[in-house]
């Protein structure tokens, strides 16, 4: 048996798997020459998902398997990896394959059992989950048909949402909690500055839990990307929890924004519709950070490689954390910082202005004193916060209906002028602040955007002075001793 049509190594090896699986399923393989052609011939094929269709094709072509009339009546797509004993193993990328099958008017899909749940939410296509090759043979010949899988409604799935860290687990940190709430409400990117062990990572991890739940489309988009990269755990359904992606700071540009020989999605796309958390922001390489600017601005990344060109969705909330200085203890009471002002400036300068510009909220996170950790006081839970956030988001959706914005963070200067009306007191306050605290014009607009979100949380249309005053506190790097 020979396979042609630009197969890669794993596809070429499927010859042996197909052979063994057919024999182990009780069918005969006559010793004869078989050519398997994968069309279109000019496109590279890779991965083991062609095993099952090749096996079925070979069986039908050699008359070992006669398809039933029912089977011939509907267009069916088949994919799956075979093991030598005839069992079928799950593959990566089931969801996108089923979606594109549906778009191509295919009525049913035969796929590995483990992949079935992933695609169970898609309407208008019959799913036949299978676990052995003989099951497939029986199904196609009509001797023993499989029941199509029942559709699972998205609402049911959503109940399975799993929040990694609930806000009620976070002790103290009143300031940072509030900042997270505001960030979630307006979709603002956020930077946390604090000494090691102050809880920056934990705070960041609680963010997905207070964001509004994903819509069906969002869940589909996100699951698709994870499916392609093989990051879905076997047997899991559509992703209903917002993703949280935390690449290590040694990440390369390609692993961050996508790429590689065949252009795979990177961490920013894994965080699509969720949170991208960059711990120790200044430790990331400068090129990697600069590459983040496009996805931050447009919500997509374009990856161009010699062999491939692709665009991946990557609309995420950026949450970054950093120490206040290279040794980490600047401003700490317990440990003494040994950094010179020049070292501190150098450290902070690693984050370029344009990137910092896209981060609306910058706050300092203080270490929690031991007494706080031991208190039995239970803080507000994520669900309570999420409710307020959802209301604020709803106001934004209604306000920006038909506009190119979805949330406050996306407002440009024109949008800010239009959608951020301020009370007379608020105008007076922000002018005074610009003067006394040396705020730049850029900071001025950022403050307006954030105060818009705070006002939305309060469900007020006109921004009041208290909203502006709070927003000013989220611009720590601007008013800081270290600039």
């Amino acid at each position: 048996m020979e396979i042609i049509g630009l197969p890669d190594a794993s596809v070429r090896e499927s010859r042996d798997r197909v052979n063994a699986a057919i024999i182990n399923s009780g069918k005969q393989m006559q010793p004869r020459r078989i050519t398997v052609n994968l069309a279109p011939a000019d496109m590279k094929k890779e991965g083991p998902s062609y095993d099952l269709p090749i096996a079925v094709g070979v069986l039908i072509a050699t008359n070992e398997l006669i398809p039933s009339i029912d089977f011939l009546h509907e267009k069916t797509a088949i994919f799956g990896e075979l093991s030598l004993d005839g069992f079928i193993r799950p593959v990566h990328g089931a969801l996108p394959m089923v979606i594109s099958a549906k778009e191509n008017d295919i009525q049913s899909v035969i796929l590995p059992y483990e992949n079935a749940k992933e695609v169970a939410c898609i309407e208008g296509i019959r799913i036949y989950p299978v676990s052995t090759l003989s099951q497939v043979i029986d199904h196609i010949s009509g001797s023993h048909t499989i029941k199509p899988q029942e559709q699972i409604s998205f609402c049911d799935l959503r109940k399975e949402q799993h929040v990694p860290i609930d806000m009620s687990q976070i002790k103290g940190q009143q300031g940072a909690r509030r900042a997270l709430e505001v960030a979630a409400a307006g979709g603002h990117n956020m930077l946390m500055i604090g000494v090691p062990g102050s809880g920056k990572t934990m705070l960041a991890r609680s963010l997905p839990g207070i964001l509004p739940p994903m819509t069906f489309e969002e869940a589909l988009e996100t699951t698709r990307i994870h499916s392609i990269c093989g990051r879905l755990s076997p047997g899991s359904g559509l992703m209903v929890t917002r993703p949280f992606s935390a690449p290590h700071h040694s990440a390369s540009v390609a692993s961050l924004i996508g790429g590689g020989q065949n252009a795979k999605p990177g961490e920013v796309s894994m965080a699509h519709n969720g949170v991208l958390f960059l711990d120790e922001l200044p430790e990331f390489s400068r090129v990697a950070l600069e590459a983040l600017r496009q996805p931050l601005e447009d919500g997509v990344v374009s990856v161009s490689r010699v062999k491939n060109q692709a665009q991946y969705q990557s609309s995420f909330m950026l949450v970054a954390s950093m120490n206040p200085c290279p040794c980490g203890y600047y401003g700490s009471e317990k440990n003494i910082c040994r950094c010179t002002p020049q070292e501190i400036r150098k450290y902070l300068d690693k984050i370029s202005g344009p990137l910092l510009d896209r981060i609306d909220i910058q706050i300092e996170v203080d270490a929690v004193p031991v007494q706080e950790i031991n208190t039995s006081k239970i803080a507000e839970s994520s669900a309570q916060v999420a409710e307020r956030v959802a209301k604020a988001r709803k106001r934004q959706q209604d306000r920006y209906y038909g506009m190119p914005y979805h949330c406050n963070a996306q407002l440009d200067n024109k949008g800010i002028k239009k959608y951020c009306p301020m009370s007379a007191d608020a105008i007076k306050l922000i002018n005074a602040a610009v003067e006394t605290m040396n705020l730049s014009m850029r900071a001025y607009f950022r403050i307006l955007k954030v105060s818009r979100s705070i006002a939305d949380l309060d469900e007020i249309d006109i921004i009041q002075s208290s909203h502006v005053a709070e927003a000013i506190q989220y611009r720590e790097l601007d008013q800081k001793y270290w600039r």
Partner: protein, 375 residues
């Protein structure tokens, strides 16, 4: 017959002499005996005479140091960096250090040497990696002293030194920096702009080291005797026990200078040196006025800090502001602590703090702590 070398200019000869790093108890008699560096040069290099109290090694070192390329290099650097010099023989050599133990035989300087005879000179010393509050206080005290006509002397290092110089420049008096390397070098590099500004604003940079000499570590504690020697009193802002600042204090005590010591945070390790000194009887001070009073420099007895204004602007307007101000009057607090003391919600507290910051009643410190503004 071999052609005699032309005797170079005075500053070049002095650089040549200083570069050999003879101990000062050798160098000073040498300068006195031959009445200046040029005739020492003439004697050693041209006449090749043996000088009795120089060892043969020292004599050789001086002789070989006088080759053309070295002298040419000195000349270039001296012109390029506008370096001037005064030896202990010269009348412009400052009297204040002429009689200290181990005076520098030759002083190199950039700027206006007259400043060293300024009527009021205070040395301010402290750690290079000082606390943020220490830096802020240093700057404001230096500023205030300077505005009362006091020149501040310090060492051009980072931290307290930098803030002392800057504060003095802000206050309008010339400032004096004593450095531990040749004047063609700037150590630390980052203070080049400060160095230039000091000279521009009628101040002076002083060094006992010849051009091209690198800032070796042992130079710094040694040059501290000049810092204390040039001053009328030494002010310690913030120092640990084993620190360069404490050597300055030792020198000051030997030279019989007054020592003022800022109390600082009694619990912080950064102020360990301050605590020891206070215990041993250094003068306690918290404001510039304390120093001026003690030194009898108060021109105007009713002088109060100028920048305290009691205008109506500086009053809390509502209960929340009042609560925050009251809480902070007892000391510096972090954001979370203010929340637990006042019971405000975090959003209320954030907006209250902004209002107080705009009124300049509260200021932010590193680590998200707040205190009542001292300005």
């Amino acid at each position: 017959m071999k052609r005699l070398k032309k005797i170079p200019d005075k500053t070049i000869c002095e650089a040549w002499l200083a570069y050999a790093e003879l101990p000062s108890d050798t160098l000073i008699p040498l300068i006195y005996k031959y009445q200046g560096a040029r005739s020492v040069f003439d004697t050693i290099v041209n006449k090749k005479e043996n000088i009795g109290f120089l060892s043969s090694e020292q004599q050789k070192k001086l002789f070989s140091g006088a080759d053309d390329s070295t002298l040419e290099n000195f000349s270039v650097l001296i012109n390029q960096h506008n370096i001037l010099s005064a030896s202990i023989l010269d009348s412009e050599y400052p009297d204040s250090i002429r009689h200290i133990e181990d005076p520098p035989p030759i002083l190199f300087y950039q700027g206006n040497l007259e400043v060293l005879n300024h009527k009021r000179r205070i040395a301010m010393v402290g750690s290079r990696s000082a606390s943020y509050t220490g830096l802020r206080n240093t700057r404001s005290i230096a500023n205030e002293l300077s505005s009362q006509g006091v020149s501040i002397i310090s060492g051009l290092a980072y931290g307290i030194d930098t803030q002392s110089h800057r504060g003095c420049l802000d206050g309008g008096s010339p400032t004096i920096a004593v450095v531990g390397s040749g004047l063609d070098k700037t150590y630390p590099d980052g203070n080049l702009s400060l160095k230039i500004e000091i000279v521009e604003k009628n101040g002076v940079i002083v060094s006992e080291y010849a051009p091209t000499v690198k800032p070796y570590g042992y130079h710094f504690p040694y040059r501290n005797r000049i810092i204390s020697g040039l001053s009328h009193a030494v002010v310690l802002m913030e120092a640990r026990i084993r620190s360069g600042s404490m050597t300055t204090i030792d020198h000051a005590l030997k030279q019989g200078k007054d020592v003022f010591c800022y109390p600082g945070d009694p619990e912080s390790i950064l102020f360990e040196g301050n605590r020891i000194l206070l215990r041993d009887g250094a003068r306690f001070f918290t404001t510039a006025k304390d120093i001026l009073e003690d030194m009898n420099w108060l021109d105007n007895p009713s002088y109060v800090r100028q920048n305290i204004d009691c205008s109506t602007e500086k009053r809390p307007d509502n209960p929340a502001e009042k609560a925050v101000v009251q809480a902070l009057e007892k000391g510096t607090l972090s954001f979370e602590q203010i929340i637990s003391v006042t019971g405000l919600s975090s959003s209320e507290l954030m907006s209250t703090i902004t209002l107080l910051q705009i009124k300049k009643m509260v200021e932010l410190l590193p680590g998200k702590k707040y205190r009542i503004s001292r300005q």
